[in-house]
C-alpha cells in the first residue's frame, strides 16, 4: 500500500484512537459523537441515491462525494448558524448540515434554480461552479463581519485544483493582510478531474501555502471526522476571537468520478482507489470506534440507515413533485424590476411567441 502522510490523525484507520485523540474524544459531547456517525451515513446514502437518480435520468449530471464524508461532516458540525458558508459544487454534506433541505439539493441537480436558495436564516450560498471563485466572497463576508463587529466566521470550501487559481491567492492574501475571520477549507481529494495534485502544485501539501499569507496552515486526515472537527473548531474559535484566518487541508479521496459524466478509470489506477476504500474509509473507521466504545449496535445501524432512506425517498418525492416553473420565470429575479428590453421580451413570450416545448 502506498504511504500517504495523512496529517493530524486522531482515529487510526483501524478505528483506534491515538493518545491525543483519546483526550479530544473524552472532551466532546457524546451526542456529537453520534451525530458524526449519523450525518456521515446520511450523506453517503444521499450520494449513492443521487447517482442512481442520475443513471435513471431523473436528475442531471451530478458531482459525487463518497469518501469525503468525514471532511464535510466534521467541518460543518464545528460551525454555528451565525457562520457563512461558501461551497463549491461537491458540498452536499455541508449543505444539509447547514440546513439545506434534501429536496432542494436534489432540485439543484435537476437543473432548477430553486435548488440554489437556502431557507431563511441559513447562511449558505449557492454552489460556486467556476473554480475558486467563492474564496474571495468568503474573505469579503468575513471582512464585513469584522467591520460590523459581528462574531460570525466565514468558510470557503474548495478542492485541491482550486489552489491553482488566482482567486485562491487573492482571497488568502486579503485575509492575511486584513486579519479576517475566515477559514479556507480545502478537501484535497488528490484529483482535479483527471489531474493529480502533483500537476497542480510543486509543493507537497496545500497547508504549507499558508505561510505565504502569514496564516496558520494545518494538514489533517480528512477521513478522520474527529480530527477534522477538532481542527475546524479551533480555527473557528481563533477566528471569532480575532486571531485571523486559517487554511485547513483535509487529506481525503474522491472514491468515484468527478461527476457522473466522468470516467476515472481513464486517469486513475484502480488499485489506488481500492486502497482508499479498503483501508482509509471515513465511515468504516468511525463505525469501528463506536462499536469498540459500545456506542453503536448493528441493530441501531440498520435502524438509522432505514430512517435515512425513508427521509431520502420523501425528499425525492418532494423534489419530483415540485411544480415546474413557467417559461416566464426566466425573467424573475434578474433585476428588482424588469428593464424595458426585458419587458418587451417577456411580452413576446406571453403572446405565445416563445418556444412551445409540447410541440
Amino acid at each position: 500500500m502506498r504511504h500517504i502522510d495523512p496529517g493530524l490523525q486522531y482515529i487510526q484507520p483501524n478505528g483506534e484512537l491515538t493518545a491525543e485523540g483519546r483526550v479530544v474524544w473524552e472532551e466532546i459531547d457524546p451526542q456529537l459523537r453520534l451525530d458524526f456517525y449519523r450525518w456521515m451515513v446520511k450523506v453517503r446514502l444521499f450520494d449513492r441515491r443521487s447517482i442512481v437518480l442520475q443513471r435513471q435520468g431523473r436528475i442531471g449530471t451530478y458531482a459525487p462525494l463518497e469518501g469525503q464524508e468525514a471532511a464535510q461532516v466534521g467541518s460543518a458540525l464545528a460551525l454555528t448558524t451565525l457562520d457563512w458558508i461558501f461551497p463549491s459544487y461537491r458540498e452536499h454534506g455541508v449543505a444539509m448540515i447547514a440546513g439545506m433541505p434534501l429536496d432542494r439539493i436534489l432540485l439543484y441537480w435537476m437543473g432548477r434554480v430553486e435548488g440554489n436558495l437556502a431557507p431563511e436564516g441559513v447562511r449558505l450560498l449557492p454552489p460556486a461552479v467556476p473554480i475558486a471563485t467563492q474564496l474571495p466572497h468568503a474573505t469579503g463576508a468575513a471582512w464585513a463581519a469584522k467591520l460590523k463587529q459581528e462574531p460570525s466566521v466565514s468558510v470557503a470550501y474548495f478542492g485541491d485544483g482550486a489552489t491553482s487559481e488566482g482567486d485562491f491567492h487573492e482571497a488568502l492574501n486579503f485575509a492575511g493582510v486584513f486579519n479576517l475571520p475566515v477559514i479556507f477549507f480545502c478537501q484535497n481529494n488528490h484529483y482535479a478531474i483527471s489531474v493529480p495534485f502533483s500537476r497542480q502544485s510543486a509543493t507537497l501539501t496545500v497547508a504549507e501555502k499558508a505561510a505565504a499569507y502569514a496564516m496558520d496552515g494545518i494538514r489533517v486526515d480528512g477521513n478522520d471526522v474527529l480530527a477534522v472537527y477538532d481542527v475546524m473548531a479551533q480555527a473557528v474559535q481563533r477566528a471569532r476571537n480575532g486571531g485571523g484566518p486559517t487554511l485547513i487541508e483535509a487529506v481525503t479521496y474522491r472514491r468515484g468520478a468527478h461527476t457522473t459524466a466522468d470516467d476515472p478509470s481513464r486517469y486513475r489506477d484502480e488499485q489506488e482507489a481500492q486502497e482508499w476504500i479498503k483501508y482509509r474509509d471515513p465511515l468504516d473507521r468511525y463505525r469501528k470506534l463506536l462499536h469498540a466504545e459500545g456506542m453503536l449496535s448493528e441493530a441501531e445501524e440498520r435502524l438509522w440507515e432505514e430512517t435515512c432512506k425513508q427521509e431520502l425517498e420523501e425528499a425525492v418525492r418532494a423534489a419530483e413533485s415540485a411544480p415546474a416553473p413557467p417559461a416566464s420565470h426566466l425573467f424573475a429575479h434578474v433585476f428588482e424590476e424588469l428593464t424595458v428590453s426585458q419587458r418587451r421580451q417577456l411580452e413576446e413570450l406571453n403572446r405565445g411567441e416563445g418556444n412551445d416545448k409540447d410541440e
Partner: protein, 325 residues
C-alpha cells in the same frame, strides 16, 4: 475521407496539426491523459507525449497567459478552456494582451494562439456551463472568432486558425459535438476564416445563424419550403471577420432577414449584423430585420433551457413576421 462527428473532426484536426507542425502544442485542463472532458484530445497525449499535449494546473489566466508567452517565443499553442463559462479568469490575458500584442509591438509579436472552448447550451449541462458570450470577443479588436457547425468545417477551420498569424477564439458548439456527422478528409486542409457557408440557397428570406443554431434555422427553412417560401440559410462560421459580401449579396436578393443566435439579444452579434445590413443594403430591405435570440437574462439552469434557446418554432414565426410585413 471518413465519416466523423464534429468532436472527432476536431480531434483529427489537432492530430494533423501536431503531426505536421512541430511548433504546435496543446495545453489545458484534462487534455492529456483524460483526453479532454469531451474527448476532443483523445489519444493525442499517448501519440505525441507530455511536452506537446500538456495537462496544466487548473488556472485559465495561467493557461492563456503562458500560451501567449510560448507564442512570443515562437511556438503555436492551442489552448483549451474546458467550457466557455470558465474562460473569464483568462479574459484579461485575452483582451489586454493576446488581442493587442501585435499592435503594441508594431507587428514584432503577432500572438499566434488558438483558444478553443466548448460553448452554448442544449445538452442539459450543469449551471454556468452553457454560456454564449461570443460577442465579448467579437467586440474586442485584435481577435478572430470562429464557430464551426459541421465536422468538415470544424477540422478545416481549426487548421486555418492554427495557421493564422493572429489570435483566434475557436468556439465549439457542445450540442453539435456528437449530433452531426459528415465526411472529413484525412489530410490537412483549411476552411478560410472570414468566409460564410451557404447552407441552403433561397429567394425569399435570408436566415443568418452559426453554431448550434444552424440546424435550427435549417429546420424552420425546411418547414417554410413546403409552404412555398424559399429561405436562404447562411452559416456565418466566422463572427469576426464577417463575410460581408455573402451576407449583403443574399440580403439584396431576398430583402427579408432573420438572425438567429442563442446568446441574449442585447448587444449580441445579431445587433452588429443588423447595423451592417442597414449600412450596406438598406434600400433592398422589404421588412425590418428580425432577431430570434436568447432573452436578456442569465443563461438559465437546464430546467428552463428549452424555453431560453431559440427553436424552429420561434424561427418559423420570425420568418412569417418578415414575409407578411
Amino acid at each position: 475521407m471518413s465519416e466523423k462527428t464534429l468532436v472527432q473532426a476536431i480531434n483529427d484536426g489537432l492530430r494533423v496539426a501536431l503531426k505536421n507542425h512541430p511548433d504546435v502544442l496543446i495545453m489545458g485542463e484534462d487534455v492529456g491523459k483524460n483526453g479532454g472532458v469531451f474527448r476532443a484530445t483523445e489519444g493525442l497525449w499517448e501519440e505525441f507525449g507530455d511536452d506537446r499535449v500538456i495537462d496544466t494546473p487548473l488556472a485559465e489566466a495561467g493557461i492563456v497567459g503562458t500560451a501567449l508567452g510560448m507564442a512570443i517565443n515562437g511556438l503555436r499553442p492551442v489552448a483549451e478552456i474546458q467550457f466557455m463559462g470558465f474562460i473569464y479568469p483568462g479574459f484579461e490575458q485575452i483582451v489586454s494582451h493576446a488581442a493587442r500584442l501585435r499592435t503594441r509591438t508594431q507587428g514584432a509579436y503577432p500572438a499566434s494562439i488558438v483558444i478553443r472552448a466548448p460553448y452554448g447550451g442544449g445538452i442539459r449541462a450543469p449551471e454556468l456551463h452553457c454560456d454564449s458570450t461570443e460577442s465579448l470577443f467579437v467586440h474586442t479588436p485584435g481577435l478572430k472568432v470562429v464557430v464551426p457547425s459541421t465536422p468538415y468545417d470544424a477540422k478545416g477551420l481549426l487548421l486555418a486558425s492554427i495557421a493564422d498569424p493572429d489570435p483566434v477564439i475557436f468556439l465549439e458548439p457542445m450540442r453539435l459535438y456528437r449530433s452531426v456527422r459528415g465526411e472529413v478528409p484525412e489530410e490537412e486542409y483549411q476552411v478560410p476564416i472570414g468566409k460564410a457557408r451557404m447552407v441552403r440557397e433561397g429567394e425569399d428570406v435570408t436566415i443568418l445563424a452559426w453554431g448550434a443554431m444552424v440546424p435550427v434555422a435549417e429546420k424552420a427553412a425546411e418547414e417554410w419550403s413546403d409552404k412555398g417560401v424559399s429561405c436562404e440559410v447562411i452559416d456565418l462560421r466566422s463572427l469576426y471577420p464577417l463575410d460581408e459580401e455573402t451576407i449583403i449579396t443574399s440580403v439584396e436578393k431576398t430583402g427579408h432577414v432573420v438572425i438567429v443566435h442563442e446568446a441574449p439579444r442585447t448587444a449580441g452579434v445579431g445587433a452588429e449584423l443588423t447595423a451592417l445590413i442597414n449600412e450596406q443594403a438598406f434600400l433592398w430591405l422589404e421588412a425590418p430585420i428580425t432577431r430570434v435570440t436568447g432573452y436578456d437574462v442569465p443563461v438559465p439552469m437546464f430546467a428552463l433551457e428549452d424555453d431560453f434557446l431559440p427553436n424552429p418554432k420561434r424561427v418559423s414565426q420570425a420568418i412569417e413576421k418578415v414575409i407578411s410585413f
